[in-house]
Amino acid sequence: MKLKDIARVIRSKNAGPFVLTLDILMPSIEAFNTVKASGALNVDLISRLYHVPREKIRIIHYVPGLAIKITMPRRVPSGDVADTDVYGAQQHIPLMGIEVS
């Protein structure tokens, strides 16, 4: 099963102009625990998908929001000449096809 089939929300946005944050919100505590237990969302995979060094990626499991948060530095700061996504709003695509079970 892919992440896009189990998650309720998969989104990305800036947290300030230099940081990208991705949120995956689950529909239930069971789905949250399934994905957490699977270990599918790990820094190695995220590093490969987003071309960011492992040590710069942070993954937080936020139970009150039934969410997994992934945070990393933006490869290009918001609004720089090479930027293609000023708000960082369309960077969630690489997550959608991740196999979680």
Binding site: A15, P17, V19, G65, G79, V81, I93
Partner: protein, 452 residues
């Protein structure tokens, strides 16, 4: 202590506050109205250029709506991060609009204008003292980088708002402010628990984004000594325990810890419940005062002038070779112009929307060629004239570029209109995003009192 009704009219003032829902909240008699008018989310161009984000018509319409409502009930109105970036020209333009509204509507009140543009000399002194640090993954600040910025603003905390209130202000128009401080100043002055106040402010500064479904309608918070209740003023937006808890994720690196001027908001023990199917009740946040008071500095530097050309491509033979074509075109254009315009004095880039214009190398592979693409030729150069020249030359050669297997030999691009060059204008980058230690939270933010 009684309940305090804290009304967040907007998290993005100037783009059209929903009128009916705003008035719905006013009928509940809030004790004050707050509105956040700015952000760095919109990129560096507003800070760098001095221009405001929203158009003047919608910005003034929102100010008119809020000013009339606040003066009708004689309650404080606090507007922060004026004119999108909260620097001197942004603040001046916002104050001008407020003055126009006051005159047109025959409103009389004491206005406090709080300035947030920071003297570059002061910033350099702090850099030399070693009391400036990066805010996140940015390089250390240097005196050169400070000099390159067009302007620098500081995000004020609650203290300048408090001082303005103590000077008798009824309307406060502030430059760049920390989002929370716009909404937190009055409740903290009145003695409500700082942790609760900061948590409440952090949520309502985004108006109804924390509701289900989320939206931009005004949000009312009912603040008590031991908890706060949230109620969206759109009848179909519900604040649920989950929707509010999940809001801590929004645009934040860490959902449990928020760093503000003067301290840190810790949400580890925050609790969320629901009342009556529409409203949520929240408590448990803790405020940890910082040892050193820091102000976040934001600055933007000019990079160049941007000109673009855009066109559609539907030819499948061409669409199967876009990488090759854009590489060849880059070399060709640079070679053609090299005697007049040295290649290292400008940036020439191609984006193929429909293929990988947004994600570039991150775009998932193996999806085949698109059936249609939207090409953008992107040039950034030292002047608009140069950018237009480079763009025009590139566009014209691309239009007639002979790639392998070409069948369609009369023109490679479908322009939606002419002229084909679109001058976008000055482009900037954020070059200051640092924390500066300050002894006095008021010292950087002078207040002017104006009686209208």
């Amino acid at each position: 202590m009684d309940v305090l009704r804290c009304y967040a009219a907007s998290g993005q003032l100037g783009y059209g506050v929903p009128k009916d829902n705003f008035k719905r909240g006013m009928a509940r008699h809030p004790h004050y109205i707050g509105a956040d008018m700015g952000s760095t989310d919109v990129g560096p161009v507003y800070l760098g250029s001095g221009k405001m984000g929203p158009g003047r018509l919608s910005a003034k319409r929102d100010l008119d709506l809020l000013l009339c409502a606040a003066r009708d009930l004689k309650i404080p109105l606090i507007i922060g991060s004026a004119g999108t970036a909260g620097g001197k020209p942004h603040l001046e333009e916002t104050v001008r609009m407020v003055q126009e509204v006051a005159k047109e509507r025959h409103l009389h009140f004491r206005m406090a204008v709080i300035h947030a543009e920071i003297d570059k000399g002061w910033v350099v002194e702090q850099v030399q003292k070693g009391t400036v640090s990066p805010c996140g993954p940015v390089p250390e600040l240097t005196a050169d980088e400070v000099a390159r910025s067009t302007r620098i603003v500081g995000q004020m905390g609650v203290e300048p708002f408090r001082a303005a209130m103590e000077a008798g202000a009824e309307v406060i128009v502030a430059g760049r402010a920390c989002d929370t401080s716009i909404f937190a100043a009055i409740p903290i002055m009145k003695g409500y628990d700082t942790g609760l106040v900061m948590h409440m402010s952090k949520i309502i500064e985004c108006s109804s984004i924390c509701a289900d479904p989320g939206g931009r309608d005004p949000m009312m918070a009912y603040l008590y000594p031991d908890a706060f209740i949230l109620e969206s003023q759109h009848p179909e937006r519900r604040c649920t325990a989950l929707s509010v808890a999940a809001h801590s994720l929004y645009e934040q690196a860490d959902p449990y810890r928020f760093y503000e001027p003067g301290g840190m908001l810790d949400l580890t023990d925050a609790r969320y419940t629901e009342i009556d199917g529409r409203r949520a009740k929240i408590w448990g946040a803790k405020w940890m005062p910082a040892q050193k008071y820091t102000i976040k500095l934001e600055g933007a530097a000019w990079v160049g002038v941007r000109c673009i050309s855009i066109g559609g491509i539907v030819d499948p033979v061409m669409l199967s070779q876009m990488d090759y074509i854009t590489e060849q075109m880059t070399d060709l254009a640079k070679e053609l112009l090299k005697d007049e315009i040295p290649p290292d004095t400008y940036r020439l880039d191609f984006r193929v929307y429909g293929k990988n214009g947004v994600l570039g190398p991150l775009h998932p592979k193996g999806q085949g060629d698109p059936q249609e693409a939207f090409l953008m030729i992107d040039v950034v150069a030292e002047t608009g004239e140069l950018a237009q020249t480079i763009c025009g030359v590139t566009r014209q050669h691309l239009l007639h570029f002979g790639y392998p297997g070409r069948l369609s030999t009369s023109g490679n691009l479908a322009f939606p209109f002419t002229p084909q060059e679109i001058l976008v204008g000055d482009t900037y980058r954020f070059n200051v995003y640092h924390l500066a230690e300050v002894e006095d939270p008021l010292s950087l933010f002078p207040i002017t009192i104006v009686d209208l």
